[in-house]
């Protein structure tokens, strides 16, 4: 078994075996990240491909300080952002969706109730712009100012997109919850 240090050194020398080990060790985790930024698995795997090519060819840039997994995540997230920019046609979705974003009453739900599969599906169904901001803010923990810089949008846009994304997610989760309740109620 190779340690991360050995893997990194091997990959820096373009050693095929080290590359394979790195891939086997981290591809599933990184695909999990990609899934959050995509509409489906195929798109996620596209991002994963690009990410790994970047990882293999830029591994020299990894300074060695900080966690290696953190560095890998960062590459993947950056790749996802590039991918998002490439599909900028989505930009036109945003404004009209303001009209859809329903300011209905906040649905309450039991947090522990949802499986990660369901959460993935909720994210996959989000408009790409919402999904991006939500991912970066809620999960990756970026600040709105950083997100605005990364995506080339206004800080306020990032904030408003985030709150709308939340509203849509809540609604979706609420629906899921209701479905589950009726299901389990009928079961009893």
């Amino acid at each position: 078994m190779m340690s991360d240090q050995q893997i990194i050194e091997g990959c820096a020398k373009h050693n095929r075996k080290a590359q394979q080990v790195l891939y086997d060790k981290y591809s599933r985790l990184l695909l999990g990240i990609c899934m959050r930024y995509s509409s489906d698995k195929a798109e996620a795997e596209d991002i994963l491909q690009e990410s790994f090519l970047k990882i293999f060819f830029n591994i020299k840039d990894y300074s060695g300080t900080g966690s290696f997994v953190g560095w890998l995540r960062k590459v993947v997230v950056n790749t996802a952002i590039t991918h998002y920019h490439k599909n900028l046609k989505f930009r036109y979705h945003v404004e009209i969706d303001e009209y859809i974003s329903v300011e209905t009453g906040v649905s309450s739900f039991e947090e522990a109730f949802f499986t990660s599969d369901e959460l993935f599906r909720v994210l996959n169904e989000l408009p790409p712009g919402y999904r991006m901001v939500f991912n970066l803010y809620a999960i990756e923990g970026y600040k709105h100012k950083e997100i605005a810089e990364l995506l080339g949008i206004d800080t306020n846009t990032s904030k408003s997109q985030y709150s709308r994304a939340k509203a849509v997610i809540r609604e979706k989760l609420g629906k899921l919850n209701k479905l589950k309740e009726t299901y389990s109620a009928g079961d009893n």
Binding site: Y23, G32, R36, K41, Q49, Y92, I100, L119
Partner: protein
């Protein structure tokens, strides 16, 4: 604050459940990534890694270069019509000894040419081919060259005896005399294929001159006249190396008309536009149009309306006074057609009741239905929202617009938001949005 707490709950939920989730990659993706990596690694220049692949690449490049050089020298040899045949044959055999592969290369190149010039050649040719007679192959090449650039008479005595002895359709007895040429046709449209025959007679050898610089020594040659004009074909027949007689015939090649046309408007809106076809043909007295949708016209410059958008191959066939024809087909003639979708910014619904949204393109003068003006739309989804974000109307059929009614009631005058998405017939997706003002009658 309540909002902050909820926000935190939601973030925690997604972080906990999704942050370290592993998803199994598809096996094909693993392979693709490793393959792309391998390719990228290989292309990365690294002199320290001079391996078998580089060596292989150099070998292949070297081999390719060698092949190119060899084929180049072949071509040079082919276009040397002045060379006496005997010498050429000798050279061929000499080469044959050295580079056996080259020989097949040459014959392969020649075969298609031969079949064009002499497609239904008689038994003689088949025989010699079957015998794999290298000398004969070579002569075939040379005759082709003569047609390309007439260099003057070529001595081919050796062949005469062979070709004549190979033929037995010549009947002995009757003497050679004038007017011996029997062409299959005397006039026609270019390119015209004419089969020549010699009236029965006795002779040793013959020499045809086709009037366009071409020669032949066959007893019944076939010749293709490519250009319009009058050609004087002469035939000399010899007996025991003595000129017996000379006769001639005239072949008239009529000019070919030239089909040419344009379609207007260039960016046609189908099905709405009436398409005009402009005829720029020359030398034509009659035209035949095939519009590609099953319809046709014999008018000089017809107009036509297509019922629906599609790929249409428009063909024009023109005929000259001699019946010579030419045709021009424009494939997928409306590929440059406009692909667009536009919506009006105001409309007045019919106050008497909902119409169901059906409308006639260009016919809905009163604008009582909100509908797009479009061209080349295949998939389509229209949604109309009120300012409060309520979905008022939805249509997946481009032929169904909004009649201004919502739940059986005429909608309130004011601004509504529409959003449309779909695909054009060329596969390009479109997404558009805007607002429309519903006016009161």
């Amino acid at each position: 604050m309540k909002g902050d707490k909820e926000d935190k709950v939601l973030r925690e939920l997604f972080r906990q459940k999704l942050d370290n989730v592993e998803v199994i990659t598809s096996p094909s993706v693993d392979a693709i990534i490793m393959r792309r990596l391998g390719r990228k690694e290989f292309l990365r220049f690294n002199p320290a890694r001079f391996n078998i692949w580089y060596l292989g690449g150099i070998l292949i490049a070297g081999a390719a270069l060698a092949v190119i050089l060899n084929s180049g020298s072949d071509k040079i040899k082919q276009v040397q019509p002045q060379e006496p045949p005997a010498q050429a044959a000798g050279e061929m055999t000499g080469e044959n000894r050295n580079v056996a592969q080259e020989e097949t290369g040459v014959s392969r190149i020649n075969e298609p040419v031969k079949s064009i010039i002499n497609p239904d050649a008689g038994t003689k040719e088949n025989k010699s081919e079957a015998l794999n007679d290298l000398t004969d192959e070579k002569t075939e090449v040379r005759r082709d060259n003569i047609k390309v650039s007439p260099p003057g008479p070529v001595s081919r005595d050796g062949l005469f005896s062979e070709s004549i002895s190979g033929k037995d359709r010549l009947q002995g007895g009757s003497k050679a005399s004038g007017g011996l040429i029997e062409p299959s046709v005397t006039e026609g449209c270019a390119p015209l294929r004419v089969k020549f025959r010699i009236k029965p007679g006795s002779f040793d050898a013959c020499r045809w001159s086709f009037g366009d610089g071409g020669y032949s020594a066959e007893t019944d040659p076939e010749w293709i006249f490519d250009e319009e004009g009058e050609y004087k074909v002469t035939l000399k027949i010899f007996n025991a190396n003595k000129l017996l007689s000379e006769s001639s015939a005239t072949i008239t090649i009529h000019p070919k008309p030239k089909a040419h046309f344009e379609i207007t408007p260039e960016a046609a809106v189908i099905p709405n536009d009436e398409i005009r076809f402009l005829n720029y043909s020359s030398g034509a007295v009659k035209s035949r149009w095939n519009f590609g949708d099953g319809n046709s016209s014999d008018l000089n410059e017809p107009t036509h309306s297509y019922a629906r958008f599609g790929r249409y191959n428009v063909q024009l066939i023109v005929f000259s006074e001699y019946g010579c024809s030419d045709s021009l087909t424009v494939k997928n003639a409306f590929s440059g057609s406009a692909y667009f979708i536009n919506f009006p910014n105001a409309f007045i619904p019919n106050p008497t009741g909902p119409s169901g949204g059906n409308y006639i393109p260009k016919g809905d003068e009163a604008d009582q239905v909100f509908h797009p003006v479009y061209s080349g739309v295949s998939e389509y989804q229209l949604k109309i929202f009120s300012k409060l974000g309520i979905l008022i109307f939805e249509s997946n059929d481009v032929n169904i617009g909004w009649d201004g009614y919502f739940k059986g009631q005429i909608a309130k005058p004011g601004v509504y938001i529409w959003k449309v998405r779909g695909n054009f017939l060329n596969g390009e997706p479109f997404t558009k949005m805007g607002d429309v003002t519903l006016l009161k009658n």
